[in-house]
Amino acid sequence: MTMKYMDEFRDAELGRALAGKILDAVEPGRHYKVMEVCGGHTHSIYKYGIDDLLPENVELVHGPGCPVCVIPMGRVDDGIAMATENDIIFACFGDMMRVPGSEKTLTEAKAEGADIRMVYSPLDALRLAKQNPDREVVFFAIGFETTAPSTALTLKRARAEGVTNFSCMCNHVTIVPPLRALLESPDLRLDGFIGPGHVSTVVGARPFEFIPKDYGKPVVVAGFEPLDILHAISMILGQLVEGRCEVENQYSRVVPYDGNPAALKVMSEVFELRPHFEWRGLGFISQSALKLSEAYAELDAEQRFGVPGVRVADPKACQCGEVLKGVIKPYECKVFGTACTPEHAIGTCMVSPEGACAAYYNYGRFAREKELV
């Protein structure tokens, strides 16, 4: 059938049909673990109660694809130091402002007098620079390949328009290296992946071919509506039943298999790979993040202002690292829902709406196992 509108991707009857197809595909007695890589999928799964439609032996494991969640504490401290030790306007996305550093959040630094402003896009930050020509404006860039093209385009615009009081503290990360790190990890046994839909609009589905090729696991790139996710799970199980193992694109209405060449081109002009970057919970991963290329070095805020660059260990009570690796469920964390809530988060996974802990907390999934007894 042909689907045209958003609400058709939320159709209950079609959802039940897909749930039935999933039930038919599973072998009794076998436990299936499917990782949804992207935090957007985690959010949709709990918002729409998709896990309740799945057989008990199909477990969804939440992946590391939440941009705010993976920023390590040391980088938050670096941002706060840059914002407070220089007379600058420091611009960042809203959920980043609530991420705890070792002593405070950017919101608390703002309350103490630093000029920290929330923006919705890098272009908003560039607009701030044009409106305040006598002030330096730094944009704290975060995100996977979904957001990196927007930052790259903004830096190109800043240069083309001669805006010299604008620079960027770049924390963009890339999706393939952490997936490879997870696949190499002995902690985790997975049967397949729901591939990240929005990242794939930029990079395409092709970069995930290493997962079936090198690790023998199916990947289905999926959209974010409930039927998209159920369809993707059904496609993964279909591959397992038929003994196939490949990358399939469920989200072809938006994702071209080879991505967006214009976005990839602007990223390659403006960014280059960092030799290594620290991820919260995953440690240092080689060539997993972006910095400004030599050609754009004069717009690099780290070079313009310097940062302390001190590595800070995560708080002992917080188990965000294990949640990000899919090793534990959010409710298994010692501080989940007690000391750590969205209002007073200890860890990043509770701060961002895309974080697994926030998704569980906001949609009442305090302890799935207990509910099933």
């Binding site: 689907m3 919705y120 927007s150 929005h198 938006v254 967006n260 976005a263």
Partner: protein, 57 residues
């Protein structure tokens, strides 16, 4: 978001959200060519993909 008006010179478009109530200016340099009425996937103020308005499942 659906494209309402295009500023071709600056590669910007005025777009409306799913319900039609939310409007914003969107960078369209990465998804050219764009026409009025097109549906775009917008992330952080930048369109990163065209969305087919109809899809077979």
């Amino acid at each position: 978001m659906r494209v309402l008006r295009i500023d071709a010179e600056r590669e910007l478009a005025l777009c409306a959200g799913e319900e039609g109530d939310e409007r914003s200016t969107v960078e369209i340099a990465l998804v050219q060519p764009v026409a009025e009425g097109d549906v775009l996937l917008v992330h952080a103020g930048t369109a990163i993909a065209h969305a087919d308005s109809e899809v077979a499942v």
